[in-house]
Symmetry: C2
Subunit: 212 residues, 2 copies
Amino acid sequence: MYSGAQISLYPMADNFVQIILGSLSALDPYRPRFRIETDDLSTLIVGAPQDLFPAMRDLHVAASRNSVHCVLHATISRGCPGEQPSSAICTPIAGGRGHGSTAPIPARVEEALANVASAPELGQVVAAQFSLYPLGGGGSGHHHMDEIYGCIDFLKRSGCFGRAKNFCTTLRGDAGLVFATLAEAFLRFGSPDGHLAIDLTVSANSPSKVDA
Amino acid sequence: MYSGAQISLYPMADNFVQIILGSLSALDPYRPRFRIETDDLSTLIVGAPQDLFPAMRDLHVAASRNSVHCVLHATISRGCPGEQPSSAICTPIAGGRGHGSTAPIPARVEEALANVASAPELGQVVAAQFSLYPLGGGGSGHHHMDEIYGCIDFLKRSGCFGRAKNFCTTLRGDAGLVFATLAEAFLRFGSPDGHLAIDLTVSANSPSKVDA
């Protein structure tokens, strides 16, 4: 199971280079378990699925210090058949939460809710917008819209649901809860061994007014 | 066939609000044919599939004036079964290029190459990174990885292919050619009536060095 993300930080400030470079130490605790590559468009992190969201959270919170309006975008994937079929660095920790479940959707919703209940509070409010893409036919009865609707049911009860928009769903709340909720969406929906991708945008300190 | 995009602009500058507001007139020629809604995370444009990429191109080029490092991100979708089943505003213009084809993949690659050959040159170099997601089983023999590989074959011959990365592909070149290439990827690959999504990032004026 190959899993990872292409992540980018967009600090809306003249000193964006310094802000980005100054935030990178937030990834240090994760470096031993990740493969990391950077170019001018994004930074690739390859690692176990349950490590991806805490790493993105800590990076984005670090880059959003001092009230900078900063957006993180990530293209997150697991199980892509076009990547190498498996990678030791992506193997979930034994006994850990793993990367999916064969349980029925309602049971997975309850598991996800139990996990987000213990999310840490980090003191940084964020707004997130994401799309979940379960790819491939999946012979095991996982229909892609059923998985999406199951995930939306979880999101509505997560404590940080924002609203449904065309093509995506928004979340709003403390970064701890929002990233924990995103992790559960990634880990528990879609076929457990199937190809799943997320298109994620997280914004902090936007000056725009929010109606919702 | 419901089609549209959630688009966001990220000018990496202190005066990002003015830059964004100053670029919006680039959408004026498209407004009569689009439904447009904005919140603090993105702007939704709903309209015919062949209009989406020229509109995003003109908006991004306008926001990237004066050498500002500016990124556009878009979540683009057609045929999502969770949206209203069809919308008059999304109907391709009669006789136009439409939004898909039942021709075999090699024929669609040739059509796409013929179309990008007439792309306008705009004088703004951009780098793009995107992922193409053909969703749903699609009973008509459209296997999602076959469509992705067919699209990659087209991209490699488009004149702006950058490189394959994990989870995405990069393009580099004049904004005219890059957005025309992206449009062809969206219009010609994946089942013509199926659910197709793109996760797109386009960057202008990055100070980072590019090895590729």
